[in-house]
Symmetry: D2
Subunit: 285 residues, 4 copies
């Protein structure tokens, strides 16, 4: 429905008085009706200010080009970094998977269901196994094997394939480490699910190591991928209790429920332009 | 510290464009620096709009009287219900208890600790038992027995005693039903903790009835007291898991942890002017 | 794998000394190796005693007929109600659905994944909508319309169809109230998911009523169906937090996650013979 | 009440058939009535078997000396490590604190309340600050300063002081690292609360580091102290959600609630002989 479309401004700048007044006055002057607004400053004095403000597209008097032009002086006055997002332009995401299907099953179900408002131009995998699942949802599935001996070249090929097709990537238990050049191509636009509560158990085999350590909770963490493995800004995390009776297999089974929920949440937040990054941390509006 | 004091505006009115612009412009004009702002509308079209906006008192050019006067035209233009709150004016709360001490112990510890920024002019009880606890914190303790045969008169006496002393009341497992005239004297200003996840198990003996029903979770609910028992607007709720091994005594023991946490949370929210009431529901900013 | 098969005894009787000794001695004598054992008595004195004890089928010297015969004297001595279950005999469950697919999607995924060790001879619905989902998993789908004017007869037909085919039923958001004669045919063998934390919001439209009441948590309850609507023994429950920003649609969306998790948990517990019923409550081993 | 006293056997040995039968037969022969029993084997084949079995002291025909003597042959047959515990012999715990009071306040309140069934012969601190709290509960408070230049000698003095007075130690945010000789004097009998979800943020300033890392959950871990800092067997863990708005001070405040709950839980489990250690992990019955 047209009347549900919103325009969202994401803003950051040095904090000082008058920002909210200027932005809200701008929206009001051009007949925008604010439907959601959130803000945060990193400190009371001289902090960095972040804002996410959404207003109805219907009735707003400027088109996208006009908006950018008209907002420019305000942005300049406050030294803002800013971007504008139209909800009717759904973000396009490629989902990358390997052999485990639980996150993909969950994402696709939520997507078809309307919980995740994104477009999925393709599903990519280093294995052919999950193609039937993609077909079920009539989504293109591309098999890009990654070979140890040609890993960089293989990823390069994948990167070229994606060129221009997508806005962000979802690693839904994709069992390959992405090369730095690949990560740099999608800064803060690759979402990974790691199967532990980071920063505990970074790297390989977290459930096995959780079992060995005898923890009483296990968890999952969705984060933006950076060049340092499992060190990127955390978007969402959750845990589940476990006990001595849980074998490694039980931890894996219980963990699946947390992984898929946390990844879906992060994808939803990102797709709605709710996540800003500041100093390797996220502000989630 | 002076620089930490904030002024908070609570506003509600019919939703229409321009409210945020007008309010933030007002604050900016008088040199206020916004430190927190949240808003909510009950519907996209023709809803009711609610706003809580806080700005530093330091540097703000108007004193309280001037602020009220200067804001009046804006309030009139939008037909606002509004109030202004200065954080340096701590709210004064009377705590009412009976014999159970867990909520009182917790509230007092958090209070002394700085988690709850309120003044406590008195603790009131229908029993003498918890006086030593009050004394430990050097707080006045008043024993107001409530007798079946003179219940209304007894409460009347209590009400008169409180006159002018407090801004709100905390029923920390106070085992008496307040008379309608008493409740009416403190509309949306009496916080009760009920030991169940409302609306389940309203009324007496909720743990016993939870045990009988064989539930797998028990909970607690903090709400504003209205004339209808356990039907007032809910401020905070939480639960804890239980199982067949839990006797009624175990439920009571586990429940204490939830009760005290939920009550403290509700008191904190109320004391920071974060709770607005709309149609027997709360908006918690 | 043969070596993973276990035999499980479920026992209840008046509590008195010697029960555990007798049962464990019986298992030991016939070369059984206990792999899991749990027990519970409703009271220290004169309570009812419940036990679930599992031992490896491999190496156990008695076949099923011999086991029953040999255990009979022990059962008689203590006045036991008891049953024996072989894990290699997977329980057969019919899943009943209407139009909402989230619980069915989840159950089928967990089933194919090995989390739910059951057979699913058929999926039954009063609507044709979810047939494609059944077909995806190559499961028979039967459309049994229930008409207001012939409700009892329609259900009778369904009951006859199920005759001999299944051990228990799963109501995965099946939007029909089962007739008493139907319920009586599967005592403590029909698992329903109700979309509220019972006993709050029994009956229709719980999310709408949760919204109206302004609760800060919503939940889901899996229970055995009895003739009294939403009053049967509770097997599993869980909740999720919500707030004033959640519309009814948001509650429905958030609730789906809880519903599917709680229903799957209840089905797993039932399928592993972990649930005993006592006075409309469950003992979950 | 005499009738509530129980005798608890803790047993571990190589798993093989007949253990439960032998133990339960032994209890039955001497007129013991089992009130609780739990067991666990680390593997289906050739695992290590653990058992905790409790029976009423009332009516049991053997006194402690006789029990030990009579059980010896069974223990020998199965090569058991075992111990026997009488609930009427409350465990004696020293609580060690520094300046932060939240864990101590909570432990003492639960103790007086009957939630923690232990004796507290003394509270020990390297600071004088919390003495008034001890006095409130009429408990002896001993100030043992620990100086950098005489740390080992200071702890030696403390160790000698404790000699014969206590069964286990509770470090309730005690801000000193215990010397190896001290730890060795109380193997698996010193419970520490660490203010993070281990193994994340071992060592100093975990809240600060959690803030820096931008986690969305914080937690607390109760564990037995071993010579390796924060690496001992974990008894209990829990977490709470946080977000970008939480300053380090907020994390500390929220964390206090988790710390005190997790520590109290671990103390309760230990005091009821519910915790067994195996390979740096705990089995919690």
């Amino acid at each position: 429905m047209q009347q549900d479309h919103v325009i969202t401004l994401l803003i950051s700048c040095l904090d000082r008085p008058g920002i909210v007044a200027a932005v809200s006055q701008f929206i009001f002057e051009h007949q925008g009706n604010i439907v959601e607004s959130d803000q945060y400053a990193t400190a009371r004095q001289n902090g960095t200010f972040f804002m996410r403000i959404s207003f109805s597209e219907e009735g707003f008097q400027l088109n996208e080009r006009e908006l950018v032009e008209a907002f420019q002086p305000i942005a300049a006055r406050f030294g803002m970094q800013w971007s504008v997002h139209y909800s009717r332009n759904r973000k396009r995401a490629a989902i990358l998977v390997s052999r485990l299907d639980h996150c993909l099953v969950d994402l696709l179900w939520r997507w078809r269901n309307g919980e995740l408002v994104i477009d999925i131009p393709c599903i990519i995998s280093n294995h052919p196994d999950l193609e039937p699942l993609a077909r079920m949802y009539q989504l293109p599935y591309h098999h890009f094997p990654i070979r140890t001996e040609s890993r960089a070249a293989d990823q390069q090929r994948m990167l070229e394939f994606l060129e221009g097709k997508v806005d962000f990537l979802i690693l839904a238990r994709y069992m390959q480490i992405l090369e730095p050049f690949f990560v740099q191509a999608y800064p803060q636009r690759i979402i990974n699910i790691h199967h532990s509560f980071l920063p505990a158990f970074t790297g390989a085999r977290p459930y096995e190591r959780a079992f060995e350590r005898g923890v009483k909770i296990i968890g999952a963490t969705a984060h933006y991928v950076t060049e340092e493995l499992d060190e990127g800004p955390i978007i969402a995390q959750d845990v589940i209790h476990c006990n001595h009776r849980d074998s490694i297999e039980d931890l894996i089974r219980k963990g699946r429920d947390v992984e898929r929920r946390v990844l879906a949440e992060a994808v939803r937040l990102h797709s709605e332009d709710r996540v800003l990054v500041y100093k390797n941390r996220t502000i989630v509006f």
